[in-house]
Symmetry: C2
Subunit: 303 residues, 2 copies
């Protein structure tokens, strides 16, 4: 089993969806990632919180194989985000983003984390993602997420870090923007020229598309009757995906396919409640049942 | 092997997509359906054309197990449709629809077709779909397509015919409109209350979702680098889906799953050229190869 180092945001989220509203709950990309990945492997979290992030909030990490030696606590307020979803849960409106202590965040990788075999760079400034890679020793496997803001705002930094990345995990809109290609097959080919040998496209309720050899592996989204809150679904996918890869004995093509299903299963569970609530109550049996459901959803006998 | 009776439009299409433009090529829902289904089983076509539909146009049906005894030829012009697609191939603009001889079309089912075991009611006025069912003798299996125009304009007729239908094959937007539910799981449940025991949702490039027992079967769309023309993709799906079912020894749950893959494979092939061109040049080997590709696309080892 390989340990996974992740660097990204820990935040307070306020969220409104058609099914309800919550205020100031614990969120953040690195939080969702770490908790999802911790079901599969040991996680090392590097992030920053303010002095308003107390013992109550810290409990979300409690009792899990998540090493918090890299979680900096500094004076000031924790990163805050407020978002609202309409009936189309694929689109959301950001009401505010207060970076707070995240504004001056510089990732410091503790010595004990520098030999991490697997690294997940959550969605932060690509220059900071590069700083992380400068501090780790020849990781076996590096995955990266990014967003429109960096694709458009800091393209040179992003191109530099992409050269050192094995897998990029982004959504379809980001893939089109990054590549300048509206067709996803062409977009993926262009992105592979930038460095990543493998591209994983998150398509929200429409599932996931991953490059696989010269072709693709794809899974539909899991049909859910009630999606309470899509916040963090992409990071939860990444947590299940990277966590499963880190725990696997090898990184074969088959293992990557199963990793996509693990990530999809975790994300489909996470959206069944607000914020981290569902992830925090998950049992191994819940995960196993959803994995079985994914197989029933997509498998057919040979034609 | 069961024969499939289909009733619907045969048309002249003019189409513009980002990859090209064609004028007055043979199209129509029943045409795409019949040709796709004819790769799997014997087809009986009931439709109407004008006297402008000559021997050249008739060649699209040539050399295939499609019985044209129900193809009426009447004075006047054949149904014409012109559409234009933007870079988002999921949306199209109708430039014109000239019903022409289709305006007064009344389906007459030839005596030899009345005992057809499988019926596909392509997208026509639901009152005409009902007239078809009144003329056939206890078919084993009836599938139906419809569209927003009938869902909104003739809801009572549509509800009447739905009571006699086993499977409805519609797109996601139509499912939401018909049910009044934005969530597809809820939409499907509501539609099943209207008559069909099984609901098949076409999601364009995002694949297909089918009810399966208490759950679902789903397949992603096939990743294509160049989609030349999506026209007829839904009817081609229905042709592969219903054609495979008609050819199957039984109608088990497994057979329905494979039928979705057959339909998806045929549709993914059809969009690789304008109009019927790709379907007309298809070999059994092409279909077999695409079916194998679908399996590679979606299957993973047990987790």
């Amino acid at each position: 089993m390989r340990q996974v180092l992740t660097v990204g945001s820990v935040a307070f989220d306020s969220i409104k969806t058609p099914l309800g509203e919550v205020s100031r709950i614990v969120g953040g990309a690195a939080t969702f990632f770490s908790i999802a990945a911790s079901f599969f492997t040991d996680v090392r979290l590097v992030a920053v919180v303010g002095d308003d992030f107390g013992e109550t909030q810290m409990q979300v990490f409690g009792g899990r194989p998540i090493d918090l030696a890299g979680l900096q606590r500094v004076p000031g307020k924790t990163f805050r985000w407020k978002g609202e979803y309409g009936s189309d849960l694929n689109n959301r409106e950001t009401i505010y983003t207060h970076l707070n202590v995240f504004q001056d965040f510089r990732p410091h990788i503790p010595d004990a984390f520098r030999a991490s075999p697997v690294v997940f760079l959550a969605n932060i400034h690509p220059a900071l993602q590069l700083e992380v890679l400068e501090q780790v020793e020849a990781p076996e496997f590096v995955a990266l997420d990014t967003m429109n803001y960096w694709i458009e705002g800091t393209p040179a930094d992003l191109r530099a870090v992409l050269k050192q990345v094995h897998v990029i995990v982004i959504n379809d809109e980001e893939a089109r923007l990054l590549s300048g290609e509206s067709n996803l097959v062409k977009a993926v080919r262009a992105i592979r020229q930038m460095g990543p040998t493998r591209v994983v496209i998150k398509r929200g309720e429409h599932g996931v598309l991953m490059t696989q050899g010269d072709g693709f592996f794809a899974t539909p989204g899991f049909p859910l009757e009630s999606v309470f809150d899509p916040t963090g679904a992409g990071d939860t996918f990444a947590g299940g995906f990277v966590g499963y890869l880190a725990a696997a004995a090898d990184l074969s093509e088959e293992v990557f396919k199963r990793a996509v299903i693990c990530g999809s299963a975790m994300a489909s569970l996470a959206v069944e409640d607000f914020g981290l609530a569902r992830l925090l109550s998950l049992t191994d049996e819940n995960i196993r049942a959803r994995l079985d459901s994914f197989k029933r959803l997509t498998h057919f006998d040979a034609l």
